[in-house]
Every structure is written in C-alpha cells, then in structure tokens.
C-alpha cells in the first residue's frame, strides 16, 4: 500500500476536509477539519485496515487561531504503515467527536487530553479528569498557565526569576 494511492482515495472521499498534507516527515501526516475527524478515522479503520490506535494526544499552539490540537496516530497492522492525523479547534469551541465507539483504547487517552487541554470530546461515555486531582479547576498544559505551583514557599522570587 502506497501513501500516494491512499492519499488519492482520501482526497476523492474527503476533498474539502483535508487541509494540508505532509509527506516529508517521518510519518505521513494529514491535517484535517475537526468536524470530519470521526468520519476519516472510521474510513481509515474500516476501509483501509488502520485497525490500531497507537496514540491520541493534545497540543496547544497559542499563536494559532485554532489553538488546541488533537493528534491521532493510526497503524495499519497488515501493511505495517502508519498515519498521523492532526486536527485543530478554537479554545472557545473545543468540541471534537469522540472515537471511543471505534477504539475502546481511546477512552483514557481522550480523558487525558481533556484533563490537560480541556478538549471536549462529544460522545465520550465518561469525560472526567484521569491524572490530575479532581478539584483542579484549570487545564494545566495550556500555555497560559505557569508550570510552577503557586503554593511553593521556599523559593524567593528575587533569586528564581519568578
């Protein structure tokens, strides 16, 4: 299975949903419209044998208009080919369709992405925090929040540049 053929088939099916293609990187990468992500993952799983979800994670680019990203790594175990899907949403409307109905393994990964980035996976059966304390009231991997803990007492601002 060649990526050129796959890309052609994807373009035939999802022409206006594919925003950019990057073939130069280590993994064949598509940036796609966030509304079509579930349809594209469904197509790749059922029609193109990408039956393994290697990873699902979030990212935050504060300089972009659509700041929050979700990245999917899929693996075709038959042909041993990988594909990476990127999709972006705005912070005001961080809704993306959940793919838990396709990959049960996405359950905890989507919870983690919600926990750290606040991406709202529509249709997730149990979208609550998974790694951070329950009472945390923000999404700590977003760039606007400081890494440091505000309750730290032994660090003097004058010496640590805070």
């Amino acid at each position: 299975m060649e990526y050129t053929i796959l890309l052609q088939e994807l373009k035939n099916k999802f022409e206006d949903k594919i925003l950019s293609v990057d073939e130069a990187a280590d993994i064949f990468t598509l940036t796609v419209n966030s509304e079509a992500i579930k349809a594209i993952v469904t197509y790749l799983k059922e029609q193109q044998s990408f039956i393994f979800l290697t990873d699902l994670c979030g990212i935050h680019y504060p300089e972009q208009e659509k700041e929050l990203g979700v990245i999917y790594h899929l693996h075709n175990l038959v042909a041993n080919k990988r594909i990476r899907l990127k999709t972006f949403v705005s912070k005001a409307h961080p809704q993306i369709d959940s793919i838990v109905s396709l990959f049960s393994g996405a359950n905890w990964m989507e919870r983690e992405t919600f926990d750290f980035y606040g991406v709202d996976f529509v249709g997730h059966p149990n979208l609550i925090r998974i790694l951070n304390v329950e009472y945390m009231d923000y999404h700590p991997m977003r760039k606007e929040y400081p890494l440091e803990d505000a309750t730290r007492l032994d660090k003097d601002d004058r010496f640590f540049g805070r």
């Binding site: 790694l131 951070n132 945390m136 700590p140 890494l147 803990d149 309750t151 730290r152 007492l153 032994d154």
Partner: protein
C-alpha cells in the same frame, strides 16, 4: 557481668539513686522506653526510599537505634517516615495513614521532595508533606545519605525522649491537628 564491655546499654535518665532504688520522673522513664523501641512506618515513594533501604541494611543498620522492627501497618507504627515525592493525588493517602496511626505518633520528612517539593515545583506535586500532616523532623538532601537519615532519626529520638506525657492531651495539640484538617473527635475523654 564479665562481658559487659562487649555491648552498650542506654544511659539512665537523671534521677536519685540509693542503695536498692532509683527514682526518676515517669516522663523520663516512659520517654526512655519509647525512644529506644521506635517502630517506623516507611512511606517510600522514590529515591529517598532506596537510601532508606541502605539505612536498614547491614552497613548502617537502623536496628542499632531500636528501630529494628518496621511496621507496615499504621496501627502499630510510632513514626511515619515519608521518603520521596508526594503527588497531590497522593496527599489524602498520606493524611489517612497519619490518621490511622495511634498516638503518640511522630513524622519525619526525608529528602527535599517530602520537605518542600524539591525540584518538582509543578502543579501536580505537593509542595512538602507539611501541607497535610504535622512534621517533627526534616532531613535535607536529594537524596540524603543514610548517615543523614540516621541523624534525623536520632533527632526524633531526642524529641520522643523529652516529650511530656501531657502534651498529646493539651488543647494546643488538638488545635494544631485541626489546623491540618485532621479529625480529633476521639481525643475527648
């Protein structure tokens, strides 16, 4: 005894001795017994715990100080030794273990992470266990050497030996526990 110089015994506390009797205060007699048979509960979460394993081993041998028997149940433990990074999610567990220990109880924070958060100045790590339980002795180091842990343990022994028996019944002590959010209902007699 002829072989008395082959082993050491603890020194007797201050007191009056005469022919066939020795008198001292109850505080001192109880303190002497307590401090030489501490049962520590090791709460080891990272590298400081590895140093503690060396401390319990033959080279350093914490058993020489009366702490031969580690208690892995908080019910029988006298001393909570927190050694390592405590994540904020772990904080309620540390506090619950402290609550399960019977009085009198002491706490030692071993290493930078347990004392202040250490290098983990981040949103997910508790910035010192003294945010959730009262700490008696802090041992600095990242991780501290076994000698430092022993030194911290001997500081605890000093506190235990000199503690007045009434201290744990005082309203100040109760208020101190309540300032950490620890329930003290069972303290009223």
């Amino acid at each position: 005894m002829s072989d008395k110089d082959k082993y050491t015994v603890v020194e007797a506390p201050e007191g009056y001795s005469g022919s066939g009797f020795f008198a001292t205060t109850l505080d001192k007699a109880v303190g002497l017994a307590r401090k030489n048979s501490m049962w520590p509960l090791p709460f080891a979460t990272s590298c400081c715990g590895i140093e503690f394993m060396a401390t319990m081993g033959a080279n350093y041998d914490l058993g020489r100080f009366g702490a031969e028997r580690l208690s892995f149940s908080p019910r029988q433990a006298d001393l909570l030794m927190v050694m390592g990074t405590i994540a904020k999610k772990m904080a309620p567990v540390v506090q619950q273990i402290y609550e399960q220990m019977a009085e009198p109880r002491w706490v030692i924070a071993v290493g930078a992470c347990a004392s202040s958060g250490g290098i983990f100045d981040t949103y997910s790590v508790l910035q010192g266990i003294d945010k959730v339980v009262p700490v008696d002795v802090y041992v600095p180091g990242c991780p501290p050497r076994p000698e430092q842990i022993i030194d911290g343990f001997m500081k605890i022994q000093e506190l235990v030996g000199n503690e007045p028996l009434r201290r744990r019944y005082s309203p100040e002590y109760k208020a101190m526990l309540e300032s950490y959010g620890i329930k003290t209902d069972s303290y009223d007699k």
